[in-house]
């Protein structure tokens, strides 16, 4: 008898948990379409999820009150450059470590493994201090350049490249291909999962990166979304509808990427954990 109950119980539990998980998100999205006054007032009721009045007012308010487009552009620029630059820089380095023979290879590999352990917070203070002293604050470059080279990305690429059969590269060499061509025409097309994983993980981390831009930016012109939303929250008047609209717009790009590429997303996270 217990066996018969397991399935429906499982479904119920899963459904319940799913609802619990999803409700804050739903609350956020629905609330962004409600008039400001009602957001807070109706928060405690079922009307928080099923509004009686819809409006786009909050969205236009956001654009009226702050330069949202600029924040979005900034985030896109910073994240895009870190991801793109990271793919190139880290992949090249990983290939040299995996397949080329050069003096110091073992040392550098060991160094990468050691640096892997150091979380960003451990170097945030001196990095900030250094950037400050050099007058490097309030720029895009200070938010981009330090994060392009990444030990974890290198490690992901490295283990993947090791798994590509060496015969492919040997055949290409015999066929007359030089090193760069081999890397671009043979290795990269056969390492798509690694590139996808690194891109996704870097995007995930960079899009929500808060601590660093908080430390090094005050100028709105270079401010990315994570800092902007915190600032917007403290910007009088406190209108929750506007804030929720801001949040919805801020999360849309990455949410969209997630929903489209969710299999890759989840696989990247899970497999990078296995490597760790």
């Amino acid at each position: 008898m217990i066996h018969k109950l397991i399935r429906p119980v499982t479904y119920c539990v899963l459904l319940l948990v799913a609802l619990l998980i999803v409700s804050p998100i739903l609350f956020m999205v629905v609330g962004s379409f409600k008039p400001d006054a009602l957001v807070f007032a109706e928060a405690g009721t079922w009307k928080a999820f099923f509004p009686e009045t819809w409006t786009f007012q909050n969205y236009s308010d956001v654009f009226a009150r702050v330069d949202f487009a600029r924040f979005m552009l900034n985030s896109l620029l910073i994240t895009g450059t870190v991801v793109g630059g990271g793919l190139v820089v880290n992949a090249f380095a990983a290939y040299a470590l995996a397949r080329l023979r050069w003096r110091g290879r073992e040392t550098v590999l060991g160094a990468v493994m050691v640096l892997l352990i150091i979380p960003f917070e451990a170097i945030a203070v001196p990095l900030f201090f250094g950037a400050s002293s050099l007058g490097w604050r309030d720029t895009f470059s200070v938010q981009i350049i330090p994060f392009i080279a990444n030990p974890f990305s290198i490690y992901l690429f490295y283990t993947y490249f090791l798994g590509i059969p060496e015969e492919l590269e040997e055949a290409a060499r015999v066929d007359g291909a030089g090193l760069l061509r081999i890397f671009i025409e043979i290795i990269i097309p056969n390492a798509r999962p690694a590139f996808a994983s690194v891109a996704i993980l870097t995007f995930l981390v960079q899009w929500g990166f808060f601590l660093w831009p908080l430390l090094v930016t005050t100028d709105e012109m270079v401010r990315p979304l994570p800092v902007a939303i915190a600032a917007f929250y403290t910007l009088p008047p406190l209108q929750w509808g506007d804030i929720l609209a801001f949040a919805v717009m801020m999360v849309s790009p990455i949410l969209l990427v997630f929903l489209i590429f969710q299999r890759w997303f989840i696989r990247s996270v899970a497999s990078s954990a296995i490597k760790g």
Binding site: T10, V13, L14, I21, P24, I25, F27, V39, F40, A43, G44, V89, N90, F92, A93, Y95, A96, R99, R101, W102, A111, V112, L115, I117, P119, E121, A122, I123, V125, P126, F129, G130, A149, P151, I154, G163, E166, R173, G208, F210, L211, L214, L215, L225, P226, V227, I229, A230, W240, I243, L244, A247, V251, I254, L255, Q262, I266, V269, A270, A273
Partner: protein, 303 residues
């Protein structure tokens, strides 16, 4: 991973240096050097805006940090966080992973829903959850708790109540982090060879027995990894604290990283802040080494 390297390419030795140079420069300039700098700064008395000359002070900063009640509170908050969040979140993640892994329809949909919070930037979540934790009966959390407790719950101002501030942040973190852990555990579950379960079934092992004797042992490495990763993340706690409670009320929610930033940014005590981050790093290092040691003893990696 094969440990045996065939002889790698012999040509273009110089190209290797070009390939690796940009990354190497980046790693040195932006990770290695700052790290060394952190240690160096932490043994000085660097205080921006202070008239005192810069000098070497040995371990004074560390002593001062540990003696500082705010820092002590921060450390204990982090430990509290670990002690509560890690087991709860892991158990929940394991539970959900098991459910999703059983042959039910729509498992992909559940995976998406459970993982979705992970995709949200933490600062965004912090702001939104401020609204969720709104005081008074209109606050959605308050009214929800009133609903499930059948009226017994009294509305609280979570984020301004010293008793509830930290738990509030814990709950939010669990909400966000469970999906992340679940996905990893799920991958671990799916890599357990089905034959082990078949053999157990032939040996007359029931569901609970199978879970205890097949699933858990096979999952050991994954669980260790996930527990320690979450522990490290628990020490990195910053964004939510900065935005939701600013460490308060009365340092009820301050954390190590929050203290570090506050020390450097608001009080200009760069050296002290550096010392705090070094302490933080040592904690993370210990945890990481612990994990590596336990993994090795358990027979190595998952696959």
């Amino acid at each position: 991973m094969n440990g045996l390297h065939k002889v790698a390419m012999i040509d273009d030795k110089n190209a290797a240096y070009f390939f690796v140079a940009p990354a190497l420069v980046g790693l040195i300039l932006f990770i290695a050097v700052p790290f060394v700098l952190a240690v160096l700064l932490s043994v000085t008395n660097l205080h921006l805006g202070s008239p005192l000359p810069l000098e070497f002070v040995g371990l004074d900063q560390y002593r001062a940090a540990f003696a500082d009640p705010e820092f002590q509170h921060a450390l204990s908050n982090n430990f509290l966080f670990v002690v509560f969040v890690v087991p709860v979140q892991t158990a929940l993640a394991l539970f959900l992973a098991l459910l999703v892994n059983s042959k039910i329809r729509g498992s992909v949909l559940y995976r998406i829903i459970f993982f979705m919070p992970v995709v949200f930037p933490m600062s965004l979540l912090a702001v939104v959850w401020i609204l969720i934790y709104a005081p008074g009966p209109q606050g959605i959390m308050n009214s929800f708790l009133q609903f499930v407790s059948l009226g017994l719950w009294q509305p609280r101002d979570f984020l301004h109540d010293p008793q509830f501030a930290l738990p509030a942040i814990m709950l939010m973190s669990i909400w966000q982090g469970t999906g992340f852990q679940m996905v990893i555990i799920l991958a671990g579950l799916q890599s357990i060879p089905g034959q082990l379960y078949e053999a157990a079934a032939l040996d007359r092992a029931g569901n609970w027995s199978q879970f205890w004797h097949v699933t858990l042992p096979q999952l050991r490495a994954t669980l260790i990894f996930v527990v320690l990763l979450t522990t490290i993340l628990a020490f990195r706690l910053f964004d939510q604290v900065q935005i939701m409670t600013h460490g308060g009320p009365n340092n009820a929610t301050t954390t190590v990283m929050f203290e570090a930033v506050r020390t450097v940014f608001e009080r200009q005590q760069v050296a002290r802040g550096a010392a705090i981050t070094v302490i933080f790093f040592v904690i993370v290092l210990v945890i990481t080494l612990l994990q590596r040691r336990t993994m090795r003893n358990s027979g190595g990696a998952m696959r």
